[in-house]
């Protein structure tokens, strides 16, 4: 276990600032996921933690000790790479032992015993004599994990470890990684571009874009209360619907006006800033429902269905709303056809408003937990 602290961490390549002042902390034993589109700086950040990239500025602490200039081998970390980085000419067992043998403070009995234990845990005991090319993708993955855990490091770094596996295996390995993390009780930093992986694995998820940290939060909080439009649209599949609206005050309450609808917004913080200016409103596809499923007094409006995508567990409709296209999730067996006009409404608890220019979240129709409890206390 170890605590990793990144303070104003920056990485400059010749003329590109790849990582722009990241402040982030992984707690003892935490599973922290870095997620973002390609080129967002997540791998660079991980490699700086590993010591494979120099840190341009800022400080990196592991257990309160500054390790900016500590060589990788002295940071007590193990890293798993996307391509597993197994030595092709060595057997699985040799691969797992090679690193340990280089560190002199292990006796060979100890090494053998640890390899055996790791093989047992990972269910690869009968594969130990095989070379990587004789192993399947999933088996190689296990050997790579085995190599990482035999050293019992303080910190695990995983760089897109599941992206070379097929979909079914990926789901299986995801569960296994979680189980392993519980068992080993070490701190894990995990990099992925896949938001599903991020949501399912992370105790907390850090979203990065263009070298900047957008938000760090537990998965559900990230989903329910995105800090800005980027996070809102990156997390969730299909992405959140975002369209421009005007927010006006009417009789002490606020109303969102759009070419296709006009609805009143539940009172909440941030609406006064948003009013009388052009902002973006965000609603997730599952937070739009058919009028028939909403209470009688709900505000509804008409949209025209353009595309129908049956996904099995649900039906995804593409609908025309004014000049915008929105996605709506409805019951899988609805008989709605393209061209049909349907009456829909928003779940008024799940509305988000973002600044049109900066993209920062101005308002969530349900306030995030801590703020809510505070509000209750002051009342």
């Amino acid at each position: 276990m170890a605590r990793i602290q990144l303070t104003d961490l920056e990485k400059q390549y010749d003329d590109v600032l790849a990582v722009k002042g990241i402040d982030l902390e992984a707690q003892d034993g935490e599973f922290l996921v870095l997620v973002g589109p390609s080129g967002c700086g997540k791998s660079t950040t991980l490699r700086m933690i590993a010591g494979l990239e120099d840190i341009t500025s800022g400080t990196l602490r592991i257990d309160d000790e500054v390790v900016n200039d500590v060589p990788p081998k002295d940071r007590d970390i193990a890293m798993m790479f996307q391509n597993y980085a197994l030595y092709p000419h060595m057997t699985a067992a040799e691969n797992m032992k090679f690193g340990m043998k280089s560190v002199s403070d292990f006796s060979s009995d100890e090494i053998d015993q640890r390899v055996e234990e790791a093989a047992e845990t990972l269910d690869i005991a009968d594969l130990l004599d095989r070379k990587p090319k004789e192993l399947s993708g999933g088996e190689r993955q296990r050997v790579a994990i085995g190599r990482a855990i035999v050293r019992e490091p303080e910190v695990f770094l995983l760089d897109e470890p599941l992206s070379n596996l097929d979909a079914k295996l990926r789901v299986q390995m995801r569960a296994e990684l979680l189980r392993l993390h519980e068992e080993l009780d070490s701190s894990t930093v995990y990099v992925t571009h896949d938001q599903t992986e991020a949501m399912t694995l992370g105790d907390r998820v850090a979203v990065l874009d263009a070298g900047e940290l957008q938000q760090v939060a537990p998965p559900q909080e990230l989903y329910d209360f995105p800090a800005n439009r980027f996070v809102a649209e990156f997390i969730g599949e299909p992405a959140m619907n975002v369209f421009s609206v005007d927010i006006r005050e009417r009789n002490g309450h606020y109303v969102a006006d759009h070419a296709g609808f006009s609805i009143s917004l539940p009172d909440g913080e941030g609406l006064d800033t948003a009013s009388d200016s052009s902002v973006s409103m965000g609603v997730r596809p599952e937070d739009i429902s058919l009028a028939s499923n909403l209470p009688d007094d709900a505000e509804t409006f008409a949209v025209e269905t353009t595309v129908r995508e049956p996904l099995g567990e649900l039906l995804l409709l593409h609908c025309q709303l004014g000049d915008d296209e929105i996605h709506v999730k409805v019951e899988p067996r609805s008989e709605i056809q393209p061209g049909e006009t349907i009456e829909v409404g928003f779940d008024e608890d799940r509305l988000h408003v973002f600044d049109a220019r900066s993209g920062d979240a101005l308002y969530h129709s349900t306030a995030p937990e801590p703020t809510k409890s505070e509000a209750v206390a002051t009342e």
Binding site: K73, F98, K133
Partner: protein, 297 residues
């Protein structure tokens, strides 16, 4: 896979396209080889105008000639020194080139440059640099070490100087291939080893050498061919086979027998032996390393 498009309309067309290559091969490779083999069974005089069938007597003469046996031993020794010396030195230089972060391409150019120099030019230049009396290199060597360089008269010294020059000349070729092979190794292997704290030398012989072994085997074969056949200009311009046969490589001896002593029959027999010797060596090298080379995975 079921349907394969035929690249040619007819076999005739395919044959016609192959013809130029076959003509060149026959005219400049197969015919001369056969002619050499035929000539080795004759005694020749008057620039090969007068041929007399002698059977294997040329080979018998070579087998019993102490000069030839000396030349044979010198050549094999020379090849051993050059092949091993070139491989070890270029491996170390390549590894450093591979490891260095800053200005690696200028180092690479510097390391490869000797290879771009024509052998004759290199031989003459080095003759000046290493000249026992006038050489600037000799001057400093004798100034800084207790040795005296006298390779015009000392056999072992001449052999060593020639071997060093031959190795130096061949480094570039080896380095190009080795650096390319090293750069093909996935970077994550290096990084993984860095995290584990694997030492650089250990990494070289435990990981890199096994991984680039196909390239190394190729280079062993190419260096063997080089040391037997392509070192002729160095011998010719630097030592002329001397002193007293210490650098009289087979390729040089057969040239003199043919073109200085006009003994085409005997020289042809030497050619045949040299060809068979190198062929056997290559066969052994390839067989011995079979199964050891790592071809990916």
């Amino acid at each position: 896979m079921a349907e394969q498009t035929k690249p040619f309309d007819s076999k005739l067309q395919a044959a016609a396209l192959l013809l130029p290559t076959i003509v060149v091969l026959v005219a400049f490779l197969y015919y001369p080889s056969l002619e050499t083999f035929r000539l080795s069974l004759f005694e020749s005089a008057f620039l090969g105008q007068d041929l007399r069938w002698t059977g294997i007597s040329n080979f018998v003469e070579l087998a019993t000639s102490s000069t030839y046996r000396n030349s044979f031993v010198v050549s094999v020794l020379f090849a051993g020194v050059v092949v091993i010396g070139t491989l070890v030195l270029s491996l170390l230089i390549s590894y450093m080139l591979f490891d260095v972060d800053l200005g690696s391409s200028s180092y690479l150019v510097a390391a490869i440059w000797p290879y771009a120099l024509p052998p004759a030019v290199a031989a003459i230049l080095l003759n000046f640099l290493l000249h026992p009396n006038l050489g600037i290199f000799t001057h400093y060597l004798e100034l800084l070490t207790p040795w005296t360089l006298d390779w015009f008269n000392s056999g072992p010294q001449a052999f060593a100087v020639l071997a060093i020059v031959a190795i130096w000349k061949q480094l570039g070729y080896n380095i190009i291939f080795m650096v390319a092979a090293l750069n093909n190794i996935p970077e994550t292997l290096t990084e993984s080893a860095q995290l584990d704290g694997v030492g650089r030398l250990k990494m070289l012989y435990k990981v890199y050498v096994p991984l680039i072994s196909p390239t190394l085997i190729f280079l062993v074969v190419m260096n063997t061919i080089y040391s037997f056949f392509s070192t002729f200009p160095l011998v010719d311009l630097m030592t002329s086979g001397g002193p007293s046969g210490a650098t009289n490589l087979l390729i040089f001896k057969l040239y003199r027998d043919a073109f200085e002593f006009s003994n085409y029959g005997l020289a042809s027999a030497e050619s045949v032996i040299l060809f068979v010797l190198v062929a056997i060596l290559m066969y052994i090298q390839l067989r011995a390393t079979e199964g050891h080379a790592q071809y990916g995975g």
